[in-house]
Amino acid sequence: MSMEYSSSRGSLAGQVAVVTGAAGGIGAAIATALCEAGAKVVVNDVNAQRAMQMADGLGSDNAIAIAGDAGRAEDVANMMQAVQSHWQRLDILVNNVGVARDNALRKLTDEDWDEVLRINLRSAFLCTRAATALMAQQGGGRVINIASRALLGWWGQSNYAASKGGLVSFTRSLALELSRSKITCNTIAPGLIDTPLLRSYPVETQEKLRLAQPSRTIGSPADVARVAVHLASAAARNINGQLLFVDGGKSLFARPAA
């Protein structure tokens, strides 16, 4: 028996998606997967050159690059206006952009706290408020927030954990608030993922992190992307307010890496 899987090619045909922080890592994988599933994708990134490279790679018929800081209201307004003028609709928003400024609390500066909260959490608020206004007019949509397993808390990550935990509560509130507009809102919390950031660590550190995983494996950006595509699909219309860890079971048992 053959079962059609929701991420199959063409399942998101005719839909338009915005992915923030889409020029690399997990964001790029999500943008690619959405595109492969048939969606038109807006590649948003603060780095204009990388955003354009990413969009070019997806094909000019399938993607456009809109550079901008998703944590700035003006940039978000410009992006949504560009989406409307280019494709006249918006069906899927993936709030993926994020930064980390790790430090122990006593060394954590006001600037590091504010910057992490601005980019990781305020950006989701700004983009979601603007995007859901369009989605409600169209009769529905999908909001997918990319948090992190770090939302459970970790040494030196109070600002980052607070921002990602805030995303989860933000998601749950919106799930209740927007369900009447047929807009679903869910969170994906990736764990240890094979990204350029991870590869920048010494090999010994990478190995320690891998061995601290219950699965003894490191995930790929595609692992996160396939969940995002499912949550974006029509088959997920009744999945709302959920938090899914994509972390090989690490969230079940926070064994230290060292």
């Binding site: 028996m1 053959s2 079962m3 059609e4 899987y5 929701s6 749950r172 799930a175 209740l176 369900s179 679903t184 764990g191 995983q213 219950p214 699965s215 003894r216 494996t217 995930g219 790929s220 595609a222 692992d223 396939r226 969940v227 499912h230 699909s233 088959a235 997920a236 219309r237 009744n238 999945i239 709302n240 307010g241 959920q242 938090l243 899914l244 860890f245 994509v246 972390d247 090989g248 079971g249 969230s251 079940l252 048992f253």
Partner: protein, 198 residues
């Protein structure tokens, strides 16, 4: 009563599903009318013979001495049957270093304070899912649960069965190695008022 089916990824799937709307596409290997021991035998034999890659189990509440389910579940018997039904599957999957164990259960009782067995069962199932996931992660076996919104034993909408199949497919896909220990509600957000949705 046993049969195997094949997914798009050529994985051998075995289900124990009582509700026909869920079981029909995948072919059930048991039903709720069987006693716990008969069911365990059927499931265990099936695994010995075929070594399925995926086991989708729908724990059906067993009635207590009186009253209507789920208000009068025999919680202990239901839990014991669930544990017994998946034990052999876990052993086979662990030996083969690959597998997908999937529980599917109603989420509606978790919303109703007058149904304490539902609370207890949902909590136990979440604990079982997470505990097994942790234990089996290093063996290539993932364990997840989908809790589905239902009214009177039926899904809440005509499309629900299809949506549920897609949700299950998300977890049992051969590429879903990194997705384990999760409890996902498929109920349109109705679970949001319950602590079990965390």
């Amino acid at each position: 009563m046993s049969a195997t089916t094949t997914t798009a990824q050529d994985m051998r799937v075995r289900t124990h599903c009582s509700p026909a709307w869920l079981a029909a596409p995948w072919t059930a290997v048991g039903d709720a009318s069987q006693s716990p021991s008969e069911l365990a035998t059927a499931v265990n034999n099936a695994f010995d013979q075929d070594g399925a890659d995926v086991f989708v189990y729908f724990p059906v509440p067993l009635e207590g001495t009186a009253g209507e389910p789920p208000r009068d579940w025999d919680l202990v018997a239901t839990i014991e049957r669930t544990r017994g039904a998946c034990a052999q599957a876990v052993r086979c999957m662990r030996a083969r270093q690959f597998g997908r164990l999937m529980f599917v259960a109603p989420s509606l009782p978790t919303l109703a304070p007058e149904w304490p067995p539902g609370w207890e069962f949902a909590s136990w199932l979440a604990g079982l899912t997470r505990g097994l996931a942790l234990e089996l992660a290093a063996h290539g076996v993932t364990v997840n649960t989908v809790l589905v919104g239902m009214d009177g034993g039926l899904p809440w909408s005509p499309d629900a069965a299809d949506e549920l199949r897609h949700a299950i497919q998300l977890f049992i896909d051969r590429d879903a190695n990194y997705l384990t220990g999760q409890v996902m509600h498929v109920c349109g957000g109705r679970s949001m008022v319950s602590i079990f949705s965390h």
